[in-house]
């Protein structure tokens, strides 16, 4: 997950309001998903492990992002494919249960508890969102 430093890297000195906004978005990831940052990191590592069984990529080619559209929260896997590699898996027919490059998961609710039900939480994507994700979005254009 991008740290606060990463988010502001290369930009001019952020205002205190911008810092507050980014901190809020980050803390709400934990609040809304009810997963600690450690658990989120574990989940991310496992997801990358599964993807690597099907695609010949590096750990750094996968970015797990949390997005929010309206009040729905999405976990998005951004998988960059290097054209020079030969991805044998892509030529074989897709096995049942395998995921497409542009997969978007909508997490099931963690538990029927009083807490907010949705797992995974959102921040606005700094990098372009997958086309499939855009096609699945309920709402019209995202605010900048």
């Amino acid at each position: 997950m991008a740290s606060l430093f990463d988010r502001f890297m290369g930009r001019k000195e952020p205002s205190s309001a911008e810092i507050a906004k980014e901190r809020l978005k980050l803390v709400l990831v934990t609040d809304r998903s009810n997963l600690s940052p450690e658990k989120l990191g574990e989940m991310q590592a496992e997801i990358i492990g599964v993807i690597k069984r099907y695609l010949n990529i590096e750990d750094t080619d996968v970015l797990i992002k949390y997005e929010q559209r309206d009040r729905k929260n999405y976990l998005v896997a951004d998988i960059s494919l290097n054209r020079d590699h030969n991805y044998a898996a892509l030529e074989a027919p897709a096995a049942p249960g395998s995921v497409a490059d542009d997969a978007v998961w909508e997490d099931a609710p963690e538990s029927p508890a009083d807490d907010a039900a949705d797992a995974g939480a959102g921040t606005d994507a700094d990098t372009p969102v997958d086309a499939a994700a855009k096609a699945n979005a309920d709402s019209p254009a995202e605010p900048d």
């Binding site: 309001a17 906004k21 978005k25 709400l28 609040d31 929010q68 009040r71 907010a116 606005d124």
Partner: protein, 268 residues
């Protein structure tokens, strides 16, 4: 048609629920509506002080629930504005003296005689909040443009969304400071909306007159004050009655944010 029961809540304490409840009640009554506001903060009575009715209390909510008096006997009529009543909280009891079922029964008794029943919820997410939420047809979530308040508002909104019945929820951003927003030292209306993503009811600017009016026991909206907060409360009351009143967003002069929010369906 019966009353609209609107619960005013926030999660975080001290963001302006009681002040907003009082001023919205007065504004709605000034528009000719029949209004009763209910202080649901059992044990920490406050709505009476903000409204300046603290000397007129004989019975309270718990007396009604426990059968020591009739509902009408506990309701304090505000003599300054027509058709405005207060049902005060108990000061000396703990919050479990009242249950969600009690609140539903109580508001059902009031529905036929009033246009608006405003319930001032206590802070928090436990028993008092559950009591205040039980009879609600709608909820107004109050927040301030600062991180802890927005975080707690998010939690409250999540709890409301988790309810089995659908409860329309809108946001009131209180204590906005336009100059700090312009300087980048306060979350803007747009920032808060991006995070919370519910319908925006209105924005109240920080205004010294709010404290002064609490000191006097005369809600701002009562005196035809033209200060910014009073105007905003009046506008919100008008929006609640269905009138289309343009939103004051304070952080943009070109209207871009307003158009954007309208396009997203987040603004009335």
């Amino acid at each position: 048609m019966g009353a609209r029961v609107i619960t005013v809540t926030s999660g975080k304490g001290g963001v302006g629920k009681t002040t907003a409840t009082a001023n919205l009640a007065v504004s709605l009554a000034s528009l000719g509506k029949r209004v009763v506001c209910v202080d649901a903060d059992i044990g920490l009575r406050n709505l009476d002080v903000v409204m300046g009715l603290e000397n007129r209390i004989v019975y309270d909510l718990v007396d009604v629930v426990e059968g020591r008096c009739r509902l009408r006997q506990a309701m304090v009529k505000d003599k300054r504005v027509a058709d405005l009543y207060l049902l005060p909280a108990a000061q000396t009891r703990d919050k479990t003296a009242v249950s969600p079922q009690d609140m539903i029964a109580l508001t059902n008794q009031l529905r036929t005689d009033y246009d608006f029943i405003l319930i001032d919820s206590p802070a928090g997410i436990e028993w008092g909040f559950r009591n205040a939420l039980a009879p609600a047809d709608e909820v107004i979530v109050i927040t301030n443009p600062e991180a802890p308040a927005v975080r707690d508002a998010d939690r409250i909104i999540g709890l409301i969304e988790a309810e089995e019945r659908r409860i329309p929820t809108s946001l009131l951003i209180n204590r906005a400071k336009p100059e700090m927003i312009r300087r980048g030292d306060m979350l803007s209306v747009n920032d808060v909306m991006e995070i919370l993503s519910i319908r925006l009811l209105g924005v109240i600017p920080d205004d010294e007159m709010v404290l002064i009016s609490t000191n006097r026991g005369m809600p701002l909206a009562m005196d035809n004050h033209r200060t910014p907060a009073a105007e905003s409360f009046r506008n919100i009351a008008r929006r609640l009655t269905g009138e289309k009143v343009p939103l004051e967003l304070f952080d943009d002069n070109s209207g871009i944010f307003r158009r954007l929010l309208r396009r997203l369906g987040l603004v009335s």
